[in-house]
Symmetry: C2
Subunit: 152 residues, 2 copies
Amino acid sequence: VEWLSADQLQSWLSLIRLSMWLPSTIDQQLQRDSDVGMLEYQVLAMLSASDELTMRMSTLAALTNSSLSRLSHLVKRLEGRGLVRREPDRLDGRFTNAILTPAGLDLLKAAAPKHVAQVRALVVDSMSPAELRALGRAAERILARIDTSVIG
Amino acid sequence: VEWLSADQLQSWLSLIRLSMWLPSTIDQQLQRDSDVGMLEYQVLAMLSASDELTMRMSTLAALTNSSLSRLSHLVKRLEGRGLVRREPDRLDGRFTNAILTPAGLDLLKAAAPKHVAQVRALVVDSMSPAELRALGRAAERILARIDTSVIG
DNA sequence: CAAGATTGACAAATCAATCTTG
DNA sequence: CAAGATTGATTTGTCAATCTTG
């Protein structure tokens, strides 16, 4: 029940295996050391990097590739923990802004070093800069396909 | 809150984004067209490729990188649908064997073509054979790090 | 009424016991 | 009693309404 060459199959299996392991491995480290999941970390990180520590729910959903529904549940939990707060946009009440609180920023700062260290240990330091760039470009190419395949 | 070069960060973000999108994209296609999730598909595929259409739960868990608990729940559902059956190993009753049923094989055969077509469309055909091999090798390198980082 | 967001019901994954077998 | 496997409770994600705002 196969339609790929042995070579292609091998590469595909490695890629899909990586795609399943990497997020859960990152997730476990974050959960263990800082009590946040990977998506939660990403939300905090994006807010911290944004202007006014604020971002619209829909923008956040797009950037983290999560459904608005999932994000809404997740941000509600973060809000319950005091890491984020929400308020409707003053200019257009249809938008909801998520805002990073001081406590959220503290948690992010505390979590970042170990997280970055793991990313280094697992990915960045496992290959040369040129190889890493090539890997990044390959990932982008596939992502572009995913984007368009939703439409076509 | 950053400790990577702009280049490295860019590559990392593309990789992690791919790692979150690829499984869910594959999953949606399988779910829509064949009513199985990606992990379920993998289980059926591994059984179909194995001797006697049979594999131990623990082996299956290792090969699919899922916890034994998750796999147990999942296989129970598959068993409920008649796609797989389970029985204790005759030689050593501590092991449980999962066995692909004719119905399971039928479903797999029906699901495979579209699945493989999508893998081609998204990944295999988006780059040259050499690039695909390089991508596969990069993935393997990272996977090797994950394996050892569990210990060290 | 369309886009953004939330909600609640349901399905699936995780986690911490527990059970079983050699 | 250790390894394999299962179970039940909790948490998290998904899906299909629903609500709100301009």
